[in-house]
């Protein structure tokens, strides 16, 4: 069964149409990378999937449930979907452990001891075991982003959305976050990843979608999309990365 089905998604900010009819299907354990220049609609698409943005038309089905139909509680839907933001968005007034246990305790009603035990295991697994009682501002960017990923995993989501999670990091910190994502992929996590890291997309993705101007222009296995360069705009976009020595 598909974990995520997006059909004909349209979204405008005022006069500007940002998504012009997106169709996307993501199967269980599949890793889909969204690539495209800034402003192509990757982030907006992810935010729409997590129902953080209202959209104008289209349908979103998560694990067989149409979440766009009337009477669906968006809070319940969001608990099934984890999202990690470019800017981490950790809660600065809470320790790492409190950040991770907040949603399980308050949204899912997990008892404190149980939530802390689960969170402790997750933090240890991702190398943050000794940081659990630190406040986010004591952590490096890479550690903060890993903590944010752990926080998103704490509600045991069926689908994880990653929105350019390495874009705000210093280059030497990118690796540790990418290896966490690799580990999640290996463990079978279903993920939709918006990224500028082309090498990473080629390595990790089962499928790559190239977005431009609110439409998915290319879709297929990474080798096909990244190498074939069939469409003109794809070529122009990728040329910038080749010039920059990133591909």
């Amino acid at each position: 069964m598909s974990v995520l089905v997006v059909e004909g998604l349209h979204k405008s900010f005022g006069q500007v149409e940002v998504l012009k009819g997106i169709d996307l299907v993501v199967g269980e354990h599949e890793v889909v990378c969204l690539i495209g220049s800034s402003g192509s609609g990757k982030s907006t698409l992810l935010r729409c999937i997590d129902l953080l943005e209202r959209f104008d038309a289209g349908r979103i089905v998560v694990s067989g449930q149409d979440v766009t139909s009337n009477g669906v509680d968006p809070n319940v839907v969001r608990r099934k979907i984890g999202i990690v933001f470019q800017a981490f968005n950790l809660f600065p007034h809470m320790t790492v452990l409190q950040n991770v246990t907040l949603a399980p305790r308050k949204a899912l009603g997990v008892p404190r001891a149980e939530a802390e035990a689960t969170a402790g295991e997750l933090l240890t697994r991702f190398g943050l075991g000794d940081k659990r009682d630190d406040y986010p501002d004591r952590l490096s960017g890479g550690q903060q982003q890993r903590a944010a990923i752990v926080r998103a995993l704490a509600t045991k989501p069926e689908l994880l959305l990653l929105d350019e999670v390495t874009s705000a990091l210093d280059p030497e910190l990118v690796g540790e976050v990418l290896s966490v994502i690799r580990e999640l992929a290996a463990a079978g996590m279903t993920m939709v990843i918006a990224t500028h890291e082309m090498h990473f997309a080629r390595d990790i993705a089962d499928r790559v979608c190239f977005l431009d101007d609110g439409l998915i222009l290319e879709e297929g296995p990474p080798a096909q999309v990244l190498s074939a360069l069939r469409e003109d705009r794809t070529r122009r976009f990728l040329a910038r990365f080749i010039d920059a020595g990133r591909l």
Binding site: R78, G82, P92, H93, A103, L108, A152
Partner: protein, 259 residues
């Protein structure tokens, strides 16, 4: 050291100028009469307890009530427009009315309603007036705090499946309140001083007691005694505020957060 010397010089100069002013003997007699001070101070200090009591009770009501008004005003979406409008109207009106005017209006007007289930008495209505006015001020302080929390924090809370109320309770408000503690204390100080306004209703507070003593002896020293009491309570609050502000600033710099 330099600060100490220059302070000493400035104050010595000021004292010299005042003490040698032609009217000083009369002023000294009328305002700084040691005998009258000692005689009237106990009465005024006793009456000052009422000021402290009014301050403590109003503040205990204002803090949660103002937060409530601020939260109402921050509710998003068209559905809540009437509630937002009410909150805005409340703040606009009661920040605009001079406190002393509202005390007079409520103190003389409200008892005529004969609402038997409410305590009568000037102290009750004067306290109510202070609560109404300061809730309007303090709610704006809270609102500034709420708006200073970046929207991405709300997005992160909602993305985790927390409801809007949970996001407010666990994510937005703790950060907002922490940021506005110094300005809140500032309003505390204002309120502590404004408790003297209740004297216009004939309530025997420190100011009114000073009035009475001064009228009885044709001497203004009781006012100075009342002033001393107010200053003695507000200065610690002021220093606390300064200390909290500088600590907050130091913390932010340590955290490397751009303000």
């Amino acid at each position: 050291m330099i600060a100490l010397v220059s302070t000493a010089i400035v104050f010595a100069g000021l004292t010299f100028a005042i003490v040698n002013a032609p009217g000083w003997p009369q002023v000294h007699q009328a305002f700084f009469n040691g005998h009258r001070f000692r005689a009237d101070f106990p009465d005024i200090a006793k009456a000052f307890l009422l000021n402290v009591k009014i301050f403590a009770i109003s503040e205990a009501i204002i803090l949660p009530l103002a937060l409530f008004v601020a939260v109402l005003r921050s509710l998003p979406g068209p559905v809540f427009f009437p509630i937002r409008a009410l909150a805005i109207a409340y703040v606009d009106i009661f920040r605009g009315i001079p406190t002393i005017l509202l005390i007079l209006l409520l103190g003389f007007g409200a008892p005529s309603l004969n609402l038997s289930w409410l305590p009568a008495g000037e102290v009750f209505w004067a306290t109510t007036a202070l609560v109404v006015v300061y809730t309007a001020y303090v709610s704006e302080v809270y609102r500034a705090g709420i708006e200073s929390v970046h929207p991405s924090q709300e997005a992160a809370a909602r993305a985790l499946g927390l409801t809007r109320l949970q996001g407010l309770r666990y994510v937005i408000l703790p950060q907002a309140v922490r940021r506005v503690i110094p300005p809140l204390l500032n309003d505390f100080i204002g309120l502590q001083k404004d408790t003297a306004l209740v004297s216009v209703l004939g309530v025997i507070d420190a100011l009114h007691q000073a009035d009475i003593d001064s009228a009885a002896t044709f001497n203004f020293t009781p006012y100075v005694a009342a002033a001393v009491l107010f200053v003695a309570t507000t200065i610690p609050l002021t220093r606390l505020t300064d200390w909290l502000v500088s600590r907050e600033r130091a913390q932010r710099q340590a955290a490397g957060v751009a303000v």
